[in-house]
Symmetry: C2
Subunit: 750 residues, 2 copies
């Protein structure tokens, strides 16, 4: 088993190349066809380059760049022919603001890491266990308390129900745990709920699982931080008013730490989890010892007035609240590849151990709470109350400290998992591609930010109170659990390996139980906050589908599909550039030149720039406002391209038009000048319409508009400039066949 099912592809791993997906076979073939056309046109002739793009032949002493200590030439190493490798210094932007920002960022986050530093760390089971289980085990710090908080609403007597509910939850834990063991063996390269649902159920269920998980990860951060802060303020009540600022500081710390890209620190992360387990075990020891001295007679809890009657609904609510203890159970199935070989076997063993620990910690704490008659309250956590009553002061402090630490660690796992999930969803095109980008620290910084911001907002909105956050929590988790395990059921039916019926039954049982919890949580906690999740998840799915549709449309439009329209390609006798000096397309007698051609293309709609060079016919237009240095440079640049070129000037009045024509004559009238009088003083829309008109006349032409742009170094100076270039670019952006060229004119030298 395990090896039997190698459908998991290497693409389950993360790679910085994911931003550059390779072409499909069809695209590859279309590419070859397009290439043959080019070859026919170019006929082996290429324009020789005036320099070596490898930068390598340069033997003078390079002058340092004004932006860095190195000369720009030294920022690149030629390792293979026609290939350069950029050094670290080439990653610093050139603009002053950009440089300052980059420096500041690197001061906080560290220098950039090369792609080669992506290493798949392998962990021993004893290290993997604490690293992967911090989320799961830390949830016992708030899970039993959440359950008791609901029960106590029906008064002290209802607290006795905690034991049977805990019993059911333990059964749940074992069932779901067994179910996930199946996933580990079936997907030995690791697969979270999204991938499993995607593989077996199709995109929509997968997106549902993804949306549920995203909500879950965000809430994991909020809840874990809130609970961690509660552990601290239980011990140091004077800090209570600082709950919100402390929580925000913790989230900021997690954000910064993860942007730095903390990794290869498994050993470091192992300690707090073990310390926490030890703390709870010590608590059990002392607690049970004292209870034994009382003959295990429960201390009667303080009298609490009931605000609700004991009913099925209340019990179910308490059950759903307690079920949040199970969050994090899916961690192992995501992370199979980090284990040493044979991965799936070690992962499965670790998962078993995790479940066992969870069951012990959860049931132990519930039992202890019962024996000590502890009632949850807003002032002090349940764990703190128990520790306070059973342990000496130093040990009490130890329990609180490790609890806070392990909760912090749990929040940190969300910072690892959320960007990974976004990466996989982005690779499928359902969220913006920016989530594929690994920052210079090899961290998915967009995904990290996308987690920290909503988590912080939710934390503040709920004033950092764990109890208020719990009702939102369970729904997303169990949505993902249910879909993942349903996916496994389909998987077994499809694959039919050894013992597939038994495996399927286990997963079906897990799926049904998870689904039940999902329904119970959604119904009983609807008013308390679950509705937020039930509204958010469908909205997220809609958003994902919309984004995918957009990317699909763009992808289809950009994909290569055999020879472009018009099957016969005019092959020119020689290299096409410069375009052979076409006779003037408009005869001087006023008859339209090749009207059929123009009309034909016009009827076809908006024609785009062609995609083989011989089809591109050029017309270069230079808008000129004043005949100053900027304009002359733009004109010189335009004329030197060797394509048909003319200038256009917009005048608000006839008089200005005459005056400008005089200037043009003074200059020598070297290029055709077209003046447009704009009696309404519009400039930008006018130029755009004029270019559109040119395009309408001859849709086969590529109209290149050459705009001089005066570049000033400071932002406040830019405010003083009219930004004609930018506004023109925006205005003509939607026009087909119009190319904008910005010729920069630097008026101040640094």
């Amino acid at each position: 088993m395990g090896e039997q099912d190698e459908e998991a592809t290497p693409s389950r791993t993360l790679s910085p190349s994911a931003e550059f997906p390779p072409p499909g076979e069809e695209e590859r073939e279309a590419l070859r066809q397009a290439g043959r056309q080019w070859g026919a046109v170019l006929q082996g002739q290429t324009t020789p380059l005036p320099l070596d793009p490898d930068l390598g032949r340069y033997s003078g002493t390079p002058a340092p760049s004004r932006f860095a200590r190195l000369a720009p030439v030294e920022m690149f190493r030629a390792e293979e022919p026609d290939q350069l490798v950029a050094t670290e210094s080439a990653t610093v932007p050139q603009s002053r603001a950009g440089r300052v920002l980059t420096r500041a960022r690197r001061l906080v986050l560290g220098p950039p890491l090369a792609s080669a530093a992506v290493v798949q760390e392998r962990m021993r089971k004893l290290v993997a266990l604490p690293v992967l289980s911090s989320d799961l085990l830390s949830s016992v710090a708030y899970g039993p308390e959440a359950m008791l908080t609901v029960l106590v609403l029906a008064g002290t007597a209802a607290l006795g129900l905690s034991l049977p509910i805990a019993g059911v939850l333990v059964v749940m834990m074992i069932a779901v745990g067994l179910s996930y063991r199946q996933t580990v063996t079936a997907y030995p390269h690791g697969a979270g709920s999204y991938l499993v649902a995607s593989d077996n159920l199709g995109p929509r269920p997968a997106l549902t699982a993804a949306a549920g998980l995203m909500v879950d990860y965000i809430l994991t951060v909020s809840v874990s931080v809130a609970s961690g802060i509660a552990a601290i303020t239980s011990a140091l009540p004077t800090l209570r008013p600082l709950t919100v600022p402390m929580g925000l500081a913790v989230i900021a710390l997690l954000l910064a730490g993860n942007l730095r890209g903390i990794r290869a620190a498994g050993n470091l992360f192992a300690a707090p989890t073990y310390a926490f387990i030890l703390a709870v075990v010590v608590l059990f020891g002392f607690g049970l010892a004292q209870a034994a001295r009382r003959g295990f007679v429960p201390v009667p809890p303080p009298d609490v007035t009931a605000t609700e009657g004991i009913g099925v609904l209340l019990v179910l609510r308490a059950f759903a609240s307690g079920a949040v203890s199970m969050t994090g159970i899916e961690a192992v199935s995501n992370a199979v590849p980090i284990f040493r070989p044979s991965e799936w076997r070690n992962a499965r063993t670790t998962l078993t151990w995790m479940i066992a620990l969870l069951v012990v910690l959860f049931s132990g704490l519930t039992l202890l709470s019962h024996l000590y008659g502890v009632v949850p309250g807003p002032e002090e956590t349940l764990l703190s109350q128990l520790a306070d009553r059973t342990l000496p002061a130093p040990l009490y402090a130890y329990v609180q400290a490790t609890t806070a630490l392990v909760l912090l660690l749990a929040a940190n796992t969300a910072f690892n998992d959320f960007p990974r999930l976004l990466y996989f969803v982005a690779r499928d095109g359902y969220v913006p591609r920016i989530f594929l980008h690994m920052g210079d620290r090899l961290a998915f910084r967009n995904g990290i930010a996308a987690l920290a911001v909503p988590a912080a907002v939710i934390f503040v909105a709920f004033h950092g109170v764990t109890e208020s956050l719990i009702p939102l929590y369970a729904v997303g988790v169990f949505l993902a659990f249910t879909l993942s395990q349903t996916g496994m059921v389909i998987h077994w039916r499809r694959v039919r390996g050894a013992h597939w019926r038994r495996s399927m039954a286990i997963n079906a049982f897990g799926a049904v139980l998870s689904g039940l919890v999902l329904i119970i949580a959604a119904v009983t906690k609807f008013h308390e906050g679950a509705w937020v999740v039930l509204v958010t998840v469908p909205l997220l799915i809609l958003l994902f589908l919309r984004i995918r549709r957009h990317y699909d449309k763009v992808g289809a439009a950009l994909s290569l599909r055999g020879p472009p329209r018009g099957s016969v390609q005019p092959v020119l006798p020689q290299r096409p550039a410069p375009a052979p000096p076409e006779p003037p397309a408009y005869p001087s007698d006023g008859a339209p030149a090749e009207p059929s051609r123009g009309r034909e293309s016009d009827g076809e709609g908006q024609q785009e720039i062609e995609d083989t060079p011989q089809e591109v016919r050029h017309l270069v237009v230079v808008p000129v406002a004043r005949l100053d240095l900027a304009a002359l440079r733009a004109l010189a640049y335009a004329a030197s391209l060797g394509q048909p070129t003319f200038a256009v000037h917009i005048s608000p009045e006839e008089e200005e038009a005459d005056r400008f024509r005089q200037e043009w004559t003074d200059w020598g009238d070297h290029l055709r000048l077209e003046i447009i009088v704009s009696p309404y003083r519009a400039i930008i829309p006018l130029l755009a319409h004029y270019f559109e008109a040119l395009h309408a006349l001859r849709p086969d032409l590529a109209v290149t508009v050459i705009v001089p742009e005066v570049v000033v170094p400071h932002w406040w100076q830019r405010l003083l400039r009219s930004g004609t270039g930018r506004r023109l670019r925006v205005a003509v952006r939607q026009l087909p066949g119009v190319v904008i060229t910005s010729v920069p004119i630097h008026v101040f030298r640094d």
Copy 2:
């Protein structure tokens, strides 16, 4: 007199061509030289154009644009050869958002007006008088009240001082009035304080006057609106809580009306002023008649507890407050050209009448307040109290209504004058050039907005209370008065026409008196708010100078200065474009090609695009991320330019680099491909550094970077795109010699 001094130039009038200043003689000569160089290069050969830029030869049935009812070709009319005239529909932007905005704007503000609609309306004196005097005369609605408000601080007894203070103010009014009569005759084409100070005192005093006037105009709007609303709320006290929203609504109305470009409506504007004068005269009639029945014995004012003693300072403060009645006295000197000929004579007569009316209204109201023992209070204006006590209800309503109306009109004059002032200051380069632009309604919309926004802010900040605004008001006005009249003194000394000594004496007297008021206002009201103005004016002047310095530097950098560096111009044997296929500049044996040339230019620093065509040598670089349709179009466009071209690809990893090179080979390897491995995954800064490196190798090359830009129609779709083109443009903006060409790829057609 008057005609003797024709130094006023026609540039005193407004023109939409001001945005396009003609070149100076030196620039013209440099232009001719540059032209001769081009001529030598082109040798009469120009590339024939494939279409007619006049659009005129097009005879097919034009298809309507997708953006308008007209085909884009029909949006332009060819009236002269090589010259088109844009129709109104060509002024509508093409983007959907732009179209919607333009439509909405035009619905509110009306269709665009042609430049030819700028007409200089001529007014009869009887029309000009009310139009020009609304600001001046309306200020009696708050001037006497402001004076009494200060006096009453010293208790009821101090109110008696109002009569002597008013006497001094009347002397002031006559003196300043006489002084401005001199300005009218000396500047028959009209000149406000800024132009007079600029002509005679130099730029800094002129800017001081301009800054003072700008503050003054802004406060005129705030004070007039506040006072007008007070006239309304005095009659209808239930509206008092709505003071601020009502005031904002009025300012918004003025803004909209002026953006519409209300003009040629002199007759309409004449009515409220006359109605107001009539109202005050009626008030006098009834008031004096009733007072006569009491034998002109003053009614003792109600007892008010003194909070300050009577002292010189209090009297001076009251004097400075009363002096705000003189705001608007300079209106005629600005507006001489609107009079019928002979303009200066009619203007002078009108000014005399205005002063006379001001003196009568001001002294009459002060006297009446004394006779009726009226004490100003926050609940009801002085004018309202007087009218209430003397007039029957319908006449009372009439007084209040005309007062509110004339104050609104006064605020409106600021909307005319402020943008004019900005226009003149902008023409001199001290404020951004956008204030030269006449919008499509012939209104200076930027200037109008620049007035309305601060006026509204100040109005809200002072809760629309006139009394709080008065202390800020006087300083700016009298600053401008003083400088304008000092300028006139210099003028007479310089020009020395007939009676120049007498004229100079009159202006000197006016200047001294104005200066005294300025000092008194600045000192006595410093704490009450004058300090705001005393701080703002110098800051504005600094800002103006800073802006001018920027424009000067840019202007100097862009001005043509004889032949470019290197006196001998290499004249190519034939037309320079396409650049003669240079032999590969780097020999294959690795020795640097023409090292001296590259080094020499390198040492010279950053070389820019040259400004004659034969000097431009091209290198075209196409950054390619994927070989998709967008990339192929960009490559085709690049190759078709017929210049040396190569492609560059950035890979995050070696493997991706190899894969991409394979794709490139599949395509046919038609262009040189350079791959840059970016181990730190930076893309944009890397490309920028690479281009800089290319430039460092061969500073004589113009590096044209061709970027395909996928254009999507909706803003939310743009959010999904990485915006590489835009980011690259920003990154390379500061690099010399790098030209960016955006080849648009439209993936969705409307």
